[in-house]
Each structure stands twice: as C-alpha cells, then as structure tokens.
Amino acid sequence: MSFGHRRGWWIGFLLAPALVTMAVFVAWPMLGALRYAFYDFHGLKIGGFVGLQNFVDVLGEPPYRGWTYTALWHNTIVFVSLMVLQNGVAYLLAFALLQGLPGHRVHRVIVFLPVVLSAVIVGFLWKLFLNPLFGLVNQALLLVGVHGPPWLGSEYTALGSLILVNTWHWLGFSTLVFLAGMQSVPAEILEAARLDGATNATLLRRIIWPLVAPSTTILFTLTFIGSFNWFELPYVMAGLNGSPGGATDVLGLYFYRTAFGSVSSGLQDFGHGSALAVLMFAFVGSCAAVALHVLRRREVAL
C-alpha cells in the first residue's frame, strides 16, 4: 500500500465524523424541506404531490403574494438600514477607538457590551423601554416636553425602532471587526499619508477604506444573511404577526407562522412553509455567494 493511499484513508477517517454530522443534521433536513415544498400537508401528515403549486401560491396567489413581497421588502429595508447605521457608524467608531485616546479601552468594552446579551433579553428590555405609557424613552421625552409616539405600535415607527434596537445590539461587533481590520493596516502607511497632509476624512475614504476590504466583506455578508434571516428581535418585540398590521413582518416571521402556526391559530402548513424556506435559502445563498465573489475581488493583499 502506498503512502499516498494510506494518507487518503487517514484523511477520510478524520473527515468522516464531521461529514456524517453535516449530512444527518444539515443536508438531510434541508433536502427534506425541499421535498416537503412540493407536497400538500394536513398538519404533519404528508398529503398528495402538488408540484410547484406551493411556490405558485406564495409568489403569485393572494393573500400569500402580498405577504411575501411585503416581508421581502421589509427585509431589504432592514439590510440597507443596517449597512448604513450599524456598519457605517461602526466604521467611524472603530476609527475613533483606533486613535488610542485616553479611556479607549473602557470604551471598547462598553461598545461591545450589548453584544453579549441574547436577542431575547435585548428585545424584551427594549420593548419595556418603548412602552408608550411607562417606557423609559417616552418618559424621557416627556421631560423635555415631547409626547413620543407609540414606537412599536405605529406603522411608521415600528420597523425603524426594531432596526435601531438591532443596531444598538450589534454595533459593538461591527466595530470590533472594523477595528481589527484597521489595526492590521501598517502604521507606516498611515504615517506616510499624514505626512503628505491627508486629513482624517481623506484617510478614512482613500487609505483605510480600501485596506479594510476584508472586514467589509465579512460584515456585508453577515449583515446580508442576518437581515434576511431576521427573526428573534421582531418575534420578541412585534410578535409572530409582525404587528402592527404587518408593518414589521419579515420573511422569518412569515415562514414561522405559516409552517408552525401562530397564537390565534395552531394551524400548521408545512407545504407552504417549506416552499418559503426553500425560496429564502435560494435567495440568501445565491446573493451571498455573488456578493462574496465580488467583494473578495476588491480585497488587496498587503
């Protein structure tokens, strides 16, 4: 037996546990969901084969059609807003922390602190803070004579409130990723730029931005996947129906209540639910792959 052959067996032996685990717990359920999407369901009992009907329903038949596109639109808003708010602010914050001003270590910890809380706790806390009657936010606004709106109850502010809370929760993570990227930029490059008279703004735009491209790639991809799979925060703060009146409905909530039922109806519809899951997976997977490919190309090796 040749060395290479034995090596092959050895590698196979080491890979097997991981592969089996992946196959059983990841690939198999996913293939299952794919199959379910083509069937009619009575509860968990599988009914007849219906071809593409479930997909046609969720994409083209009212009332599903409206729900699908509204949810997708909301996810898109969430993604764009988070890119600007969460990652944009994080970029500036990371640059500020990079300066090493007095107290920057404490600040770094403070900025990162909310990240360690679970989404359920964050959602619950902020739901209390935003309560129109005794919530912290409106009480504080009242001190300066402003009557705050019912943040989570108005269709104009509900989704925005959720986005801000999410930003509060994850800002520290984005900041840390950018900070790590900035710290790996060689100091002599920054010094040279400064000697040439570059201002902070120029530095941020022309020097650091292209050099932290790997961080941007990571954050873009994670924010994309996170935005389109958003579930915990809206679930805790707005409920499965995306209150008020579907103003905070996102694909995650829509999928969950379709497949598993909501409070007012224990009705489960695995067929349409699986069709939604498959569409979400295909959408997020393909977009993330394309984005990753494009973003990787702009990364420069130092």
């Binding site: 717990f25 009575h42 509860g43 968990l44 009992k45 038949e61 009212p62 009332p63 599903y64 988070l82 969460q86 989404a119 739901k127 935003l130 309560n131 129109p132 009657l133 409106n138 709106p149 019912p150 943040w151 989570l152 109850g153 108005s154 269709e155 999410n166 994850w170 993570f173 994670l222 924010t223 996947i225 996170g226 935005s227 799979n229 958003w230 579930f231 915990e232 409920g239 499965l240 129906n241 209150s243 008020p244 009146g245 579907g246 209540r257 379709t258 598993f260 039922g261 909501s262 409070v263 007012s264 109806s265 224990g266 009705l267 489960q268 519809d269 349409h272």
Partner: protein
C-alpha cells in the same frame, strides 16, 4: 445582527429538545400513564385531579408533562407522527384538533367505550369532532366566554353605572375618562387580542342569523352587517389607553388589575390570572352592550380543547379510564374549583360567584366566529381578521377593506364564499 450562527444554534437546540422529549418521555411504565399539556401553570391543579383518579383507579398513576403553549401542537404532532407521545394528550378544539385527529393519531371515542360523553352538551362534543363524519376524538374540558371585565371599585368611585346598551357604554366610557381613568385597558399591539376584541363587541350587532348566513354562503364578511359592526369598534378608540397601538396584551392586563383602567375586554380564561395578580380586585364580568335597549347581548363562546387518547399508546385501556374519569360530574366540579374554568359537563356546580355569573351569561351566547368556523385552513380567518382589525384600529384600513381582505383570504378554502 449576525444571527446566522445563532439561528443554527437555536435550531439545533430545538431539535435536540424534540429528540430528548420524544426519546425520554415516550412510553411510561406499566401501571403509569403520561399526560401531555401546554398548561405548565396548571401543574398543581392537575396533580390533585390525578390523585383523585388514582384513588378511584388504584395502580394507575398519571405523570404530568407540560410543554410551551406556542410550540405544543408542533411537539405533539411530531411525537404522534413518530408513534410516540403521551398516553393521554390535551388536544385543542376545532381546527387545532382536526389537524391531529384527521391524521389518525387519536383514538375515536364513542358512547359505548366512553359513556361519559353523554354528560356533555352537543356543541361541546362538536368542538372535539371532525367536521366530515362528526366523530368525537376528545373529552371537552372547558368552555371560554368572551366579554367585558369591569373593575367595580373604579365604577363606583367614578359614580358610573354599569352600561347595558351601546349608547350607555359610550357615555360610561366618557364619564370614566373625564374622571381620569382609562375606560378600556385594551391596546392593539398584540394581534390575537384584536380578534378577541372584535369577537366581543361585534357579536350583539351581528346576531346568530349572520352566522347562519355565513355558513350557508348567503353572506360573506363583506356584508353590510359585518362592516357596520366593525365600524362600531372605531367609536371605542377614544377610550383606549394613550398610545394604544403600542399597548400590548400584558400592559393592558396590568392597567386593569392595578385599577388604572376601568374595563378589560377579554375571556373568562383571565379570571384566575387576574385574581393571582391582585387578590383584592373587585371585578365583574358583563356581556357586551346591546345595540338597542332590550336587544340580546350575546357573549362570544368557544370550547378550549379536550383530553384525547394516543392511538399508539400501549396503555390504551388505562388511558380510556382516565378520559372517562374526566367526563364525570365529580371531575367537572373539581376542575372548575381548582382551575377557575367553566367545565361544560352537565350539572357541574360553580361555587365561585364570578364563574357562576359567566355561566349565566352563556345562556345568551353566540359562537366566537373565527375560532369556531375558520381555523381549519390556511390562511385562517383568525389571522386575517386580527391583522385587518389591527390596521383598522390603527387608522390604516377601513372596515370595508378588512371585510374584503378577510373574505378573499377565507374564500381560498371555503366553498360557500367561492360562489359569491
């Protein structure tokens, strides 16, 4: 954000939980049977009820196991589909029951094997039957009534008398508001409560005839009667708490039990919870106001669920004994006393005066329409209506739009509406 990994973790945890549930508690020992419920808070009461059962049936012990309400149906049907699950399971009613029973997971009950079914009224049994063949699958355990809770102390402090007609109701609300109380504690932020709210206040305007017309396909929810009834709800908006669109179910309950609000529109299932939160609360439960003086004040009524036997249970004989026991008057009396719910069993004594009041209101009742008739197919009438009413009360939909949306959504699976 970055929830991808959290998501995966959560999913794995859920899977693991399902497995341990299924593997760990599937089959009990001989002489022991298991009971599954979504009511963790009822553990103490059930422990007593099951002790009574064991006394009457020596050698059979019942093991109580509870699961979270939101995921109960999923856990139950997953377990049952895998040939596991408890011997006796608490099943929901109407659409929730049909889903589990239609798949053949439950033992059909009949008067020969379970003579105690005869102790129950027909409408209670209908709630635990399949629509197609009227076969009963579970022993109904409670009816729920939707109406208006009033804080008697607040009413008398404000010098307001309890209203009977719609006009009196609005006048009472105004008087309470002028005295600085929040007239109605409910907000609209929790979607399913919007359906409850609608069920309570629209029923007297609709009447049983409307329900018959809906069933026969003579009317849809676009009917003038329905949209007019919905538009009545808009008149109540002035009497909700400030910022009511952001007031959720829990906040509404708090406003009522602390006496900041005078009324709470809800179900009889709140009684024991309200008492626990404020034992001194002097509350009453009234029917919704009548459209005109002397007209009927229909409360909305539905059945909660029932006890069913797992078709794959190895202890079926013992399980049937337990279900038979839950159909006796003795069980009904104890159930009502311990859990503060109305047992539908004939002749049950309601020692609690408030429960007795609710039972009296049940004499003039109508079905809670969406729950009773439109939770069988997806999308359910309940989710369509709660979503629509939430928008309507928030000011972004008209009663006509809500009626049209609900009708269109239901028509997908409801032949009587398809002719229209």
């Amino acid at each position: 954000m970055f929830m991808a990994s959290f998501h995966r973790l959560a999913r794995k945890a859920a899977l693991a939980a399902c497995f341990s549930v299924v593997a760990g508690t599937g089959v009990a020992q001989a002489g022991d049977i298991t009971f599954w419920t979504w009511r963790q808070e009822d553990r103490a009461a059930y422990t007593e009820l099951f002790r009574d059962f064991t006394r009457a049936n020596p050698g059979i012990n019942v093991k109580f196991e509870a699961f979270p309400a939101e995921t109960y149906n999923t856990i139950l049907s997953t377990a049952l589909a895998g040939g596991r699950g408890a011997d006796v399971v608490q099943a929901r009613a109407y659409g929730g029951l049909e889903q589990v029973a239609k798949a053949g997971y439950l033992v059909p009950l009949d008067i020969k094997t379970v003579p105690e079914l005869g102790n129950l009224p027909v409408e209670a049994l209908a709630a635990e039957s399949l629509r197609a063949d009227r076969q009963v699958y579970a022993m109904p355990y409670a009816s729920q009534t939707l109406g208006v809770f009033i804080n008697k102390a607040v009413f008398s402090a404000a010098g307001v008398s309890v209203p009977e007609t719609w006009e009196q109701f609005l006048a009472a609300c105004k008087a309470l508001k002028d005295k600085g109380y929040i007239p109605i504690a409910n907000g609209t932020a929790t979607a399913w409560m919007d359906e409850v709210f609608t069920g309570i206040f629209t029923n007297p305007f609709l009447g049983p005839e409307f329900v018959a017309d809906i069933q026969a396909g003579r009317a849809t929810f676009e009917d003038k009667r329905y949209t007019t009834a919905l538009s009545r709800l808009l008149e109540l908006r002035d009497y909700f708490p400030p910022g009511y669109t952001g007031i959720d179910y829990a906040t509404g309950q708090q406003l009522f039990v602390t006496g900041r609000a005078a009324m709470f529109a809800g179900g009889s299932f709140e009684i024991s919870n309200f008492r626990k939160q404020n034992p001194k609360l002097d509350m009453g439960f009234i029917a919704p106001p009548a459209p005109t003086a002397g007209a009927a004040r229909y409360v909305a009524k539905f059945f909660d669920g029932g006890y069913a036997v797992n078709a794959k249970s190895p202890n079926q004989a013992d399980a049937i004994k337990l279900v038979r026991f839950t159909g006796t008057k003795e069980y009904g009396d104890r159930f009502a006393a311990l859990l503060g719910n109305i047992s539908p069993i004939k002749g049950v004594v309601l020692a609690d005066p408030l429960l007795a009041e609710v039972a009296k209101l049940n004499e003039v009742s109508m079905p809670y329409i969406m729950a009773v008739y439109f939770r069988f197919d997806s999308p359910t009438g309940s989710e369509l209506l709660s979503n629509g009413v939430q928008k309507m009360l928030g000011g972004s939909a008209t009663p006509e739009q809500v009626g049209a949306e609900v009708t269109q959504g239901i028509a997908r699976n409801y032949p009587p509406f398809q002719k229209k």
